[in-house]
Amino acid sequence: MKLLIQIYGIVNLAIYFLYELFVSSLRVAWDVLTPDMKARPTFIVMPLDAKTDVELMLTANIISLTPGTLSIDLNADRTELLIHSMFGADNPDGEIAAMKQGIERRVLRATRGVNL
Amino acid sequence: MSSGMLLVWPIALPMVTAVLTLVLRRSPTGNSVSLVGAVALLAAGVALLRHVLEFGPISAQMGSWAAPFGITLFADILSAAMVVIAGIVAVAVVIYSRQDVTEDERGVGFHALSHSLLVGVCGAFLTGDVFNLYVWFEVMLIASFGLLVIGGRRDQMDAAVKYVGLNLIATLAFLTGVGILYGAAGTLNMADLHLTLADRQNETAVLAAAAMLLFAFGAKAAMFPVFAWLPASYHTPAFATSALFAALLTKVGVYALLRVFTIVFDGSGGFLQPILLIGAVLTMVVGVLGAAAQNDVRRILSFHIISQIGYMVLGLALFTPLAIIGAIFYLFHHIIVKANLFFVAGVIRWKAGSEELDKIGGLLKASPLLAVLFLIPALSLAGVPPLSGFWAKFIIVQASLEARDWWVALAALAVGLITLFSMTKIWLAAFWKEHPDAEPAGMPVAPRSMIWPIATLAVMTVIIGIGAGPLYATAEEAAVTLLDPLAYVEVVLGSEAVAEARAAEQKDLQIAEVAQ
């Protein structure tokens, strides 16, 4: 069962990820091609549930490849992730929640084989 | 295994020794392995020389791929004798290094680097392929880099910066020159190049390649005015290293000049010939003047290398049979003598505590034996008869007089006198003058591992001098392949190729006659 969840998690993660990558690229294209800058970039700090090295790496990586966010660094005790966000200035908490739901949860499902 | 392996061993043996001594670099066994390797190299050289003396020049095709496709190794008397001398120097250096080279220097690979240097040197002596020659030059060069910095002192670092900097330029010129040569001739095999370049196609490229190779070999040989790397560095490493360098590095440059500018460029570098002549004379003169101005034993000796290189290149520049014989004789003699003088410098340092002339003295009293052991190579270097250097100088002077190059002969003679002058400078300061602050009786006794190599080489110097006849005959025979490139071509490519070449030559002559 755990294995099935894990396989499902991996496939789900991959599809989600490719989709997000495509969307984020379009978003970048839009931003690049439109002359004025609407974004209000900021740094946000996301608390982490991910614990193991692989979980941390995957979470950070995928966050970087999805729209508007870029992982910068983990803090010293690996409980927080510093993120550069293009659009999170208005609602950082919402952005964090979206990432935790969208990405971290999927990653943990893929790595731990547990539905969270 | 075939006789072709005779050509391979002088390269493969030091390579294997280098690997073994690398692995054993921190173990005392490494020293013995190194010595065994050096002796093996010497034996390989002797075997090769005997074969060549008996059966004439030989060549071998690596991987059995026929010339000019595969890489050719070639040995005539000249190259085989050079390998033997390199072997002699190797044995002497390894023995000498026992006390001279520190534990630290051994620990980072002194022996491995020395044998690597020998790989490059022997490879350069034996190869019949210009790109392969480049590779061996690099092997030699990078090994010498390592040997130079191995002690890690600050004067060595400075020396190495200059040595490395200038040699890298030469090496790049070499590489580019080989590339251009290949582009012009479509081949890299020296014998094949001789045939290909005979039809004088692609003149710009060929001349430019010759110019680049002249620069590269000239710099490697420490010719005027691109010798600065040598006096900047040779006085900084261990004495064993200095001796190894002094004996072999520049001589590889000279050897390459001799080989490439007789076989590949057919003895007439065209516009380069007068440049070579003037360069040779200036090298002699400037080198010896530099030596006369120095006050440090190894710096004096270093400048003398330059000066003596001038004599050897002069032999090539004059390009008469006698001159080539002279250059070869000089080559043989100088390796032994120069290595020995650097060895002696080490003992001077050991006993008197310095290499600076005003800080040493009293050595005649302290060790008359050392005095004799210094005088033999020193007087030989200055060309005092009947030591080996006299005959070397004699032949070159004779050649320049016979070529009616009066000013060249004058320079060669005058340089001899100034050489004597600067050798006496060392003699006066180190042996006759009293030590400024040490008593001769209290000087440390030099270890036997340092004295034996010196004594052996000194005996060889005397033997070569008094029994110069056989060596002269050898040099005479060795000059044959240099003077008759087709003899070389025949060994490598077979008699058919030579017959074709001769026929083509005849045809050209006939065409020229008809045209007239």
């Binding site: 990558l21 294209a29 990586n61 970087s64 729209p67 870029l70 910068i72 660094d73 550069h84 | -």
Partner: protein
Amino acid sequence: MSLADWIAAILLVGGGFFAFIASLGVVRMQDVYIRMHASTKAGTLGVGMIAAAVAMTASGEGVVKEIAIILFLLFTAPIGAHLIARAAFQSRVPVFTAGEAESAQESFLCENQAEAAPPSPAE
């Protein structure tokens, strides 16, 4: 022209477009982080699409190679971005900011002492 070729052509055009966008972003955007958004996402996608295009027309072995390329880029691109961003962050590269960025930056830096070596005596 087979269907595969057509798909490949489309992928090629898309890939070229995104590659161009990535570099345009790197040239045009305001600060290093924003530029990195462009290069990481659009760059990876652009090259990935081109690789996919080639995979459409390639032989079996070629397909394997192309997939390997894509996977590898997807794996390494964000890590590279992370390393650069981290370095930029620790060396306090000026930020095009919407307000609180400075403070976030400061606090994070204080918590996580930069591993940056003290300036060497030579400099």
